[in-house]
Amino acid sequence: MKRIWNPGIHEFCRRILFFSWFLGFQIFNSSAFPAEKIVIGSKKFTESYVLGEIAKRTLNDAGIPADHRQGMGGTIILWEALRTGQIDAYPEYTGTIAEEILKNRQRSRREPSDVDEEEQVNQSASLEKMREALAKSGVGMTASLGFNNSYALVMRRDKAQGLDLHKISDLRNHPELKIGLTHEFLDRQDGWRPLVARYQLNPRNVIGIDHALGYAALKNGSIDVKDAYSTDAKIAQYDLVTLEDDLQFFPRYDAIFLYRLALPGSTIAALRKLEGTINEQKMIRLNATAERTKDYARAASLYFGDAARSTIAGESFSHKLVRWTSRHLQLAGFSLLLSVIVGVPLGIWASRGGAIGQVILGFTGVVQTIPSLALLALLVPLPFFGISARTAIAALFLYGLLPIVRNTATGLQDIPRSLRESAIALGLEPGARLRKIFLPIASRSILGGIKTSAVINVGTATLAALIGAGGLGEPILSGLNLNDHVTILQGAIPAAVLALLVQGLFDLLDRVLIPKGLRL
């Protein structure tokens, strides 16, 4: 879609991704990821999840094994993943392709008078151009799935009726209205600023707010107007009205699937069977089902007309919790192990001071200051990493380094000179000194660093869900997406408990690993 669940992330990732392209990171092709299974990606919002599930089912029903990587991020991450063959297909919207992927900046705005047939012709012509441009990246595009999910401005029905507002132009007379917009809409080429210019609005209260939270704000009157997508289930649910786009500002956002042209013909044919099969009402219904049941597979099965099958798709909470938690522990545990294996030797090296020590401590310190989302976004376009658990582990590993390196270095540096010299004077070789004397004496500090890393990793691992690597971040993200506190807590509480358990485990480990003489 033109949209992503959290636009702030999107924007950040996009800038960093472009930067890394300049550095020439993009030399990657599909070969590193053997395509035994077709991988469907989806963006981080309900409709994309549902369409991803539908595509997966369709392919599976056609005898083609397929996986669905849910909620991988925003437009640029998905597009890059597709282009480099890390995924094989994902649902997208024509408007987004034009605006965000192909960057048609010169797109001329139409005058409201000359819409109709001429416009239809332009539309199909530009679709052909779009196909050509996409083909240059090895990407193909299905025809419309059957609905146009355009941007819209929505209001509460009572408020709109009270002020007699029907069209976006009517906003011109009400600059006092509080307008809450997603960050992406605020920033888009076809978003708020050009819209304001086109409609000559002069709003006084404009704030940025998360999409799902914005609906809650609209409902309780904190804001009066918000941007929405015309197939949002919430429009019907909250009884909102859509302001008519009387100046034809918003481009069309026909839902399509993008796929790699290198896919087997049978796979492409199966995907194309979805063309024209979902109209707007149907999509709204599927979205509403997904949001109500928190179960995308069940919503998808509605498309196939067999709600009965949903019981198969539905996973029990305890089963999900086990899956999330074990994945979470895998991510945090494996990355911690790497951090220890690399961090302790680096810390030993750094403890010797000098320029190298400064560089090591400086590097690990800088890594720590990179926001985790940015670090993930930086790693995603690199060969080998991509959209995978590897990327999450690599990021967590880098975050885990600093506490271990620093504590190892200071633990060793803090050993009194008298003890250091006693070890030397005894005639112990350097390796034996380190093993038998220095590391045991520094063990409390080193273990403290590992403990800090472990707790940080357990917390930060929730972000792995942003790139589809799973873990307890999965319910947190989909909960944020659905504005559903219970779902958020399903991830947040276990994550917090896990952090406490890890802390406790290390306190026990202290007793085993720290020599008794140091604990007296």
Binding site: E421, S422, A425, G427, L428, S443, G517, L520
Partner: protein
């Protein structure tokens, strides 16, 4: 018999200033030599040069008639026992493990080492019951006895003691001085002791080397120093310490 250690024109600078001016010094076998002088006179520097914690800027250091090549330094260190003021015991090891550390590291037979440990306990008047304790569980005097055992474990040819009793209270100190004297005599131990306490030097040392500002001022017995002082500094140093006894 030749000297066990011979320093010839050895000097050491820190930050451009001489900690030890070019100095020659010999340590005789079987005797206790005491380095004495005010703080910063170069006495600890001399000790640290001998066990190669620091390298000289000039001059040569011979041990048992031979210069020591860099790859043999650890072997040299195992022929020397080293006791410092706070003992330098490793806090994560018990008294026993501290003493046996090197014997175990070098793979000596455990039964022999154990026997040696028992003998050392008798020699240093350290209760065997305390061997399982960690350094923090021992008193200052006990720690120094353990440190001494650790230094003597491999029967070193030379024992270096850097103000070993400096941090102890007077009673413990007096007891240890007496024990050290007996131990050195019984073992015929070649020892080099650093102290700033003239009474301790006089009591333990066969020979006293008085140092000041990185140079040896006078070498001899306490009687030599008192009766025929080489410079006014010698008299000044002796009087400064004696003045307390007069009160």
């Amino acid at each position: 018999m030749s000297a066990l250690v011979q320093l010839t024109e050895v000097s050491k600078k820190y930050a451009g200033a001489f900690a030890l001016h070019p100095t020659s010094l010999s340590i005789e076998r079987g005797k206790t030599t005491v380095l004495i002088g005010p703080s910063g006179c170069g006495k600890s520097t001399s000790l640290r040069l001998i066990i190669r914690l620091i390298e000289p800027d000039s001059g040569t250091i011979e041990f048992d008639g031979a210069k020591i090549s860099p790859d043999k330094i650890d072997i040299l260190r195992r022929r020397i026992g080293y006791v410092i003021q706070e003992g330098g015991l490793f806090p994560h090891l018990t008294a026993r493990a501290n003493v046996l550390l090197m014997a175990r590291h070098l793979g000596k037979p455990e039964s022999e080492s154990r026997q040696r440990l028992v003998d050392l306990c008798v020699l240093t008047r350290f209760s065997e019951n305390l061997l399982g304790r960690y350094p923090v569980e021992l008193s200052g005097g006990q720690r120094q006895r353990v440190s001494l055992m650790r230094a003597l474990m491999l029967s070193p040819e030379l024992l270096l003691l850097d103000e070993p009793l400096g941090a102890l209270d007077p009673l413990v100190r007096a007891a240890l001085q007496k024990d050290l004297k007996e131990i050195f005599a019984r073992l015929q131990q070649t020892a080099l002791l650093v102290t700033h306490d003239l009474a301790e030097a006089a009591y333990l040392g066969h020979e006293i080397v008085l140092m000041n500002e990185g140079r040896i001022v006078q070498r001899g017995s306490i009687v030599d120093l008192r009766e025929t002082p080489a410079t006014s500094f010698v008299t000044e140093f002796i009087n400064a310490q004696r003045s307390l006894a007069v009160i």
